[in-house]
């Protein structure tokens, strides 16, 4: 295959992945909607039903009895459809990334479009692993929705596949960028979990226990379980981010630019993100700060991460500016 056909394959695969993510997101939103009509009377089946959702992790197993169309079953089916479509979209975007690399003759991490597609690939991979391990299908709508938005925006900064600027020719590109992408992907999932936690925690506080039945929210895990998941994901992401932004980055900067740390806008914001997430991890161990305040800190950290990726790339200057469009 020529470079042009690789490039066109990549573009089609990414476009197809975007569409499939959108359909997956729709399936998860319909799952929300299906749960609205679950009457509290059905809720004694709650435990059994959540086991069914859990089984969605192994896709395609335990098919529903034919003709069963109760809202609960429909919700479970839609959840499985959503996860299956997410797997399909992930495969498509992996194809997109690989063929982009083939077209450019290098790892596809040289500009903002490529970072966006790679970042989403990793974020969805983290989510799918957690679906397998922890049954986090409830994050589906947020993760796929985020993927659609980011891939759509990535089209705005699309550049044709091409060679790298000289400063990027280094194996540190592999270490620094892949670690940053892994941490970023985990931050996406962690932010989704923290967001759900805030919603669920508020609902748990405001609804008397006897009314906590029926509807989508009460079929999700408890707020405490969401909080645990958010913590685990962030605890994984934080050391990876430390390595990517504060160790591998400066070492590469030393080779490429002759100094470890130069307060380049990208460096400053990477550090801000690090500080906020460090505050989050500390806050969880601090009385009065754990729970809601910590979750808000996690979302603030995610906002600084996003600003570093979008704002600094598009509006900032500095040595990382080739990472822009």
């Amino acid at each position: 295959m020529t470079q042009a056909t690789w490039a066109s394959l990549s573009n089609h695969a990414v476009a197809a992945a975007t569409v499939v993510f959108a359909v997956a997101c729709l399936a998860h939103l319909l799952e929300f909607a299906a749960a609205r009509t679950v009457s509290p009377a059905v809720s004694p089946a709650h435990a059994e039903e959540s086991a069914l959702v859990g089984a969605g992790g192994s896709i395609g197993r335990s098919p529903l009895p034919a003709g069963s169309a109760s809202p609960v079953d429909r919700g479970a089916l839609l959840s499985r459809i959503g996860v299956s479509l997410t797997v399909l979209a992930e495969l498509l975007i992996v194809v997109g990334g690989l063929s982009r690399g083939m077209a450019a003759g290098r790892v596809p991490w040289g500009n903002m479009y490529e970072f966006a597609t790679t970042g989403i690939t990793v974020a969805v991979a983290v989510y799918l692993v957690l679906v397998r391990l922890q049954q986090v299908q409830w994050l589906g709508a947020v993760v796929t929705g985020f993927a659609v938005v980011v891939l759509g925006l990535a089209m705005l900064v699309y550049v044709p596949a091409g060679p790298l600027v000289p400063a990027l020719h280094s194996y540190w590109l592999l270490l620094h960028v892949s670690a940053a992408a892994v941490a970023g992907g985990a931050f996406v999932v962690g932010a989704g979990a923290s967001l759900f936690y805030l919603v669920k925690e508020r609902a748990e506080r405001r609804t008397p226990p006897e009314q906590q039945t029926g509807g989508y929210l009460w079929r999700l895990p408890t707020a405490a379980a969401m909080d645990r998941l958010a913590y685990r994901v962030h605890a994984f992401a934080f050391p990876v981010w430390t390595f990517a932004a504060l160790i591998a980055g400066p070492i590469w900067a030393q080779y490429a630019w002759g100094r470890y740390w130069g307060w380049d806008p990208k460096e400053v914001w990477a550090f801000i993100t690090w500080v906020v997430y460090a505050a989050y991890l500390h806050a969880r161990a601090t009385a009065g700060w754990h729970g809601r305040a910590a979750a808000i800190l996690a979302l603030v950290g995610f906002a600084t991460f996003l600003f570093n990726f979008v704002g600094i790339n598009l509006f900032g200057s500095g040595l990382h500016s080739y990472a822009g469009v």
Binding site: D227, Y231, R232, W257, G258, R284
Partner: protein
């Protein structure tokens, strides 16, 4: 030095110019570094000639490695290589401000004491020189010759013999961080007291980090206690 790192931190063009003053004496000759401003190496810089008589001369302008004219009629550099190098400048006479002792940049003119050289109709004199050409300033104020094109490069040489120390410290720090995040210290209490002939055993656990399932922990501990007391 062995083990030193040499970095090329900047490069650009330094056109070599010769300036004659109103009397015809050569008052400046040499290469002047122009700072690159874009990917085509459109570079800006100044030539300061404090020795010119009767008044000091200053030139401010652009160096274009490959002269081209854009659709708006403005000269631009079309290519970073020196294919058709040109020097584009405005001229100033008067006091360069060098005698006041105040520090000033070698890449810009302090125009407080300078007046721009103008044609009789009042339009500013604007010079465009290709390699080897000479421009005569009006009114016999002098001339500037663009002799040839040279390049400059900036190097940084550094040697850090102990750089492995911070690396080791950072690696240790990350290992410690991982340990603090993933090792979960917990406390367990088993308290036994005699109460009216019975032995009451209390079991408690405290999690020092969040994220653990203490309920099952406690029941495990209770099972363990019951197991030992049975034997």
């Amino acid at each position: 030095m062995d083990g030193s790192s040499v970095y090329l931190v900047g490069q650009g063009y330094a056109p070599e110019v010769t300036v004659r003053d109103g009397k015809g004496d050569v008052v400046f000759s040499g290469a002047v570094p122009f700072l690159p401003e874009d990917a085509s190496y459109t570079s800006s810089g100044v030539v300061k000639v404090p020795d010119a008589q009767p008044a000091q001369l200053g030139f401010e302008g652009f160096f274009l490695p490959t002269l081209a004219v854009n659709p708006q009629g403005v000269p631009v550099s079309a290519f970073p290589g020196a294919a058709r190098p040109a020097l584009l400048f405005f001229a100033y006479t008067g006091d360069l401000g060098l005698n006041s002792g105040a520090p000033q940049s070698v890449y810009s003119l302090d125009k407080a004491g300078l007046t721009q050289v103008r044609h009789k109709d009042g339009t500013p004199v604007r010079g465009l020189l290709l390699e080897g050409q000479t421009f005569q300033l009006p009114g016999g104020a002098g001339s500037i010759t663009y002799d040839r094109t040279r390049k400059f490069a900036r190097f940084q040489i550094s040697h850090s013999s102990l750089k492995l120390v911070p690396l080791g410290a950072a690696a240790t720090g990350v290992l410690g961080l991982i340990a603090s995040l993933f090792l979960r210290p917990r406390r367990a209490w088993v308290q036994a007291r005699s109460e009216g002939g019975r032995t009451v055993v209390e079991v408690a656990r405290l999690d020092r980090a969040s994220g653990a399932d203490l309920g099952s922990d406690v029941s495990d501990l209770v099972h363990a206690v019951k197991g030992t007391s049975a034997t």
